[in-house]
Symmetry: C2
Subunit: 359 residues, 2 copies
DNA sequence: CTCCATTCGGCAAACGTTTGCAACAGATTA
DNA sequence: TAATCTGTTGCAAACGTTTGCCGAATGGAG
């Protein structure tokens, strides 16, 4: 029949001039059946080493690249993963994105990056749009409700970063620990009245920090004033300077470095000495925080590790039982934005400052 | 024959519990042929409005989502685009990535983001790996050779950002203009000896800036010392402080803000007043540059616009003739890191500084 | 009443893979 | 010598769409 005559003559020129070389071309050129070519790539142990290398050679020579769409169609696996963050331009995320992407690529996965602009509705839309064309999604600091996430996880494998939801695989950075360390550091320096400059409502991280800071302060018999919630950007930090000063507190823990830096600069612009009069601690250790003066004392989050771990968890999902929840350690990095407070123990101080200590 | 009996009974449960609903299900449920359902989505004008809405309704109710892999397989268009940058964590890129991604999504495209780590070899690998599974690639500030790019463009539609290659669609930010403005600004302030703190070798942008700065300085009979090439990061800026001071120059233009900020801080740490003794200008206007003190005078690049424009150009490619090369305007933003130089005209100065002017 | 044009929807092939099944050869065992 | 096993390959169906082609139905013109 004339039908079979078509072979080879009918071919799509995908991009002008270029012709897509398929498994069929490789098969013909190396004198084997297409299934053998297929197996050469997807199940090498099933084909005779000799045949295999011959096929490999012709494939190489012809410049064959497997068509992922066709592969995805039949296997159901796209070898793509989605990564959804609140705001790509927020310096907290790029290192995580970078690490996740590099790690995924090493495992032959490609990463769709998308940005919700901090909007829970956009976030939900995005997840659903992506759900069918990825093998899984990494949700970074999601702002959706637990219910929504619960619903969405039935459509697509999920790994959540920086949020704890029972039964859902997650990797969280233990900001609680970092916050406790930060507060203890401030208490040790002799501060008795602290401010927590809070983050956005709906943020799990925000609640964790607040809780940790509150408990630690209370345990020491010191005072904690919470200011917020706030959008986690520099401007709100700057805008809070007035309010911070009015509280009479001598030390501030901010939800993130961006806000801490905003506050830092606003205080200095008002002639308030940091850390002389007010100490400031941030969270995240974004690249900027080592660049401002005074250098910012902050809590370092292992964002790169988080990205890699999340990718691993997503890819292993289904292999074994329910992938658990991984907690990553955070660490206080003491730089120059924190100094002795009004109740500083004499031993910890130099002569000049010690003179002002009230007992 | 028993074969046809299979219909409906055999179905893949992609993610445990969930069953993929296909065009076939929708067709059956709404009593039409699958081709009608298909057309309802991909060529609505070909189906009766009444039928269409009925199909749409059942599709909605069944939660049908078109399978992109299947669609891609037959149409040859994936509705994905690749975005390749040198370093996601470099604050110059995130705003561009964000804009491109959002813009692409609005046009129903998804974006793969990948990172070359400033390595031309990785860059080439990446492009080739991505080539077959995207409809086009956005190459940001590529470090590859012109030849390599020329070769790669035969495999996949390309739009280049921040590099000029004849015959290749590109969107470039006119840093030449910004650099000229910056240098003129410094000359106007009375500086006669400038330093250009150069960027990485292989960067088109770097060459442009250098050329523009050189020409403008020369035309004014002033002196320009070039220091570099350098990796475009904060550390090299800081490391260059010594060398800058040794040149005796009173003003510095840096390849980017990161280097400028590094230099700025290193100078201040040495007790050099900025802009009192040395003026510093950056390029890019990254978010940080408004955060440091003194605020950095810099050249603003319309990165978001560049991202959107590049996406548009890529998507239109093929429609009409050869998409041209778009040049985006850059603007000097004068903040506080630049001040009067030794030859400052008296009128432009306040009394204190004017006293030191040598004529 | 016939003819033609137009609109709509069905039919079936095709996209490039993967994979269960069967065929076959040669080696091993009984 | 026959039976069984193992390793390698071919065959063909299937994945979920899109799309060229054809036929049916409808309506208006002559």
């Amino acid at each position: 029949m004339a039908l079979t005559e078509r072979s080879g003559s009918h071919r799509i020129a995908i991009k002008e001039g270029t012709v897509a070389v398929t498994i069929r071309d490789v098969a013909r050129a190396s004198g084997v059946h297409i299934s053998t070519v297929s197996r050469t790539f997807s199940a090498p142990h099933l084909v005779n080493p000799e045949t295999r290398s011959r096929v490999l050679a012709t494939a190489e020579q012809l410049g064959y690249r497997p068509n992922r769409a066709a592969r995805a169609l039949i296997t159901g696996r796209t070898h793509n993963i989605g990564l959804i963050v609140a705001d790509i331009a927020n310096p907290f995320f790029p290192p995580l994105i970078k690490a996740a992407e590099t790690h995924a690529r090493r495992r032959d996965y490609h990463v769709f990056v998308a940005d919700t602009d901090e909007d829970p509705i956009v976030e939900l839309d995005l997840v659903q749009a992506l759900a069918k064309q990825v093998d899984g999604i990494l949700l970074c600091s999601p702002r959706m409700s637990d219910d929504q996430i619960e619903q969405v996880r039935r459509e697509v494998p999920l790994v959540v970063i920086n949020r704890m939801i029972t039964g859902l695989p997650a990797v969280v950075m233990d900001v609680g620990h970092g916050a406790r360390e930060a507060v203890r550091h401030l208490l040790d320096l002799g501060h008795r009245h602290l401010v927590y400059l809070a983050g956005p409502r709906g943020s799990w991280t925000n609640r964790e920090i607040r809780r940790a800071a509150g408990a630690t302060t209370r345990a020491a018999g010191a005072e904690l004033t919470v200011l917020g919630p706030n959008q986690p950007v520099e401007e709100t930090g700057a805008a809070a300077a007035e309010a911070v000063l009015r509280t009479g507190a001598t030390a501030v823990l901010a939800y993130n470095d961006l806000m801490a830096i905003g506050l830092l600069q606003a205080l200095q612009d008002r002639g308030v000495d940091v850390p002389g009069q007010v100490s400031v601690v941030g969270i995240d250790d974004i690249a900027y925080s080592g660049l401002v003066r005074p250098r910012l004392t902050t809590v370092a989050n292992p964002t790169a590790t988080a990205g890699r771990t999340a990718v691993d968890m997503l890819l292993q999902q289904g292999d074994d039982g329910p992938a658990g929840q991984v907690t990553l350690r955070t660490d206080l990095i003491i730089r120059n934005s924190t100094g002795p407070g009004p109740y500083a123990p004499a031993v910890a101080l130099n002569a000049e400052v010690a003179a002002t200590v009230k007992e």
